[in-house]
Symmetry: C2
Subunit: 322 residues, 2 copies
């Protein structure tokens, strides 16, 4: 099918201005064979902005735009083509009739980052291939091997393992100190384009739940794909979001001895708190529904379209389509 | 107008695998209040990949896809909305009927970067606001002031000066050592999606001209918007690209005492070499045509649509539309 769009484009939402001083100028050659130039990094910069790319349909069937937020060490590319080249969830949800806003969080991807000392504090880090493989449940802990013929994925794994290096190319460095700035930027995004539906993945799960608490008048639903955290129920007033439908989707291979059972427990605790306040959080546990083999990235797995359709069914059931 | 698209999506093109060893593990807290985790950065990574995002039309009127390559310290955002929120050249050339492929070069934006010592060599740097203002010809050298009320843009400046901070949010750090990897990735891109038309800006001018020399059978035209360099005519055989139309577009305020007259001289020398070999390079010098006030970023200036139309006219005149 083809889709008729009104516009594709992007914008940044501001963070803050940073002033840097006291760095000794250095000399460098910008182009091989070119002149030596003095690089003086002292001055003012924009930092902590986020990047948002939108595709707006000519005739959206969804009532509200869909905001897609990526996880830690990733960018909005999470939602674009799968590593093995199939259409991703950006395309799937456009076809379902949503205006789609895909963002890059603070210091990730097209949001830019500051390499200068003192701007953020802390140091960036980036996941090794082994961490991606074992941490995202492509294979069990201990199954990675630098000799790739010896790598062992989970039996029945739906992640496109042959395109694993392509997936790794999507990963980006991260700092650990910019959560507050990221939350603030997402809150601003909702004020700018809301009312809206938020779809988060992994690290951004917490940002999504929190965004609803910060703007219960603007968030129409919160969807967490494999969320790695929630606000602490005893530190927030979840009664303010009791009218906002919440959904969480879990993949497979969530085993004892990893951090994933703990993440599931946090979601259950948040669901219980929502229920106690008269709200709701639905859980689509794929293996419990007989759908086996999904990794931490169901939007990239070989059944990504089928999982997207389940999410879309839920959106439809909540009256969020025209 | 609305546009009918077949698909929007993205992919990365591979660089190389890097192995990092000898970095002492450190401890860090990934989420405020969360557990201390050991961060061990030793392992294998994908580096030097580029990111390519495409919008493919249902019925392109152009014969070949249009590849849009950004300049130094920028990303593909260059081609998206202008800093003051108007549609950019990605949208303009989609409306003209081109399939558009916007990329982020090696270590820029969604192409990711490596923060680890020894992977690239050298150190990243990023432009201060002053460097953006003066270097990109928003105002003359010496016109920047940290007290913004005292900043003085060129008279008749068409760059959206009120959105200058929004522009700065698009800038990203750069290394100086990855030109060869970037060229190799662009060459691969042309093999993957060509035959194609290449549109470069600033730093990528050289990559675009060189890409034609590397794949004269696949590059159908080379368009350099304010290109900051060319191959050295006496070091390449420009006769191989004599059948490929070349275009360069220059904005205003190119004054003595800056580096811009030198860039113009290099283009003239390259044009002369092309002519001597039976080829051609057309130059649209906007001020010489009576169009005054353009900065280094004509795709963002207030007459961006008019300049895009001039480029499209040239494309049309070269028989590149169906």
């Amino acid at each position: 099918m083809t889709i008729e769009i009104d516009r594709v484009g992007s914008f940044h939402l501001p963070g803050r201005e940073a002033t840097v001083s006291g760095i000794p100028p250095r000399e460098d050659v910008l182009t091989p064979g070119g002149p030596v130039r003095v690089i003086d990094q002292n001055g003012t910069y924009e930092v902590e902005q986020i990047y948002v790319q939108y595709v707006r349909l000519a005739a959206p069937r969804a009532r509200y735009p869909l905001l897609m937020w990526h996880g830690g060490g990733m960018t909005g590319v999470t939602w674009e083509d799968t590593p093995d080249g199939r259409p991703g969830w950006q395309m799937a949800f456009l076809e379902f009739g949503h205006d789609v806003y895909v963002s890059d969080a603070v210091e990730r991807g097209r949001a830019s980052f500051s390499p200068l000392p003192g701007v953020y504090g802390g140091e960036p880090f980036v996941r090794t291939k082994q961490e991606c493989w074992e941490g995202f449940r492509v294979g069990p802990v201990g199954s990675w091997h630098e000799d790739r013929d010896k790598c062992r994925a989970y039996d029945g794994q739906r992640f496109p393992v042959d395109a694993f290096d392509g997936f790794v190319r999507q990963t980006v460095p991260r700092w650990t100190v910019n959560d507050a700035a990221t939350q603030a930027a997402y809150d601003t995004l909702i004020q700018e384009v809301g009312p809206a539906v938020v779809m988060s993945h992994s690290q951004s799960g917490n940002f999504g739940f929190t965004a609803a608490l910060h703007a219960p008048d603007k968030v129409r639903a919160v969807i967490g794909i494999e969320p790695s955290g929630t606000p602490l129920p005893d530190q927030v007033d979840v009664s303010t979001v009791r009218d906002i439908p919440h959904l969480v989707v879990w993949g497979d291979f969530i085993e004892e001895g990893t951090r994933w059972p703990g993440y599931q427990q946090r979601i259950k605790a948040y669901r219980d708190a929502l229920r106690a306040a008269g709200g709701s959080l639905d859980i689509i546990d794929l293996p419990a529904r007989g759908i086996h083999g999904n990794s931490h990235f169901p939007m990239m797995d070989d059944n990504s379209d089928a999982v997207a359709a389940l999410v879309q069914d839920w959106i439809e059931s909540k009256g969020l389509m025209k």
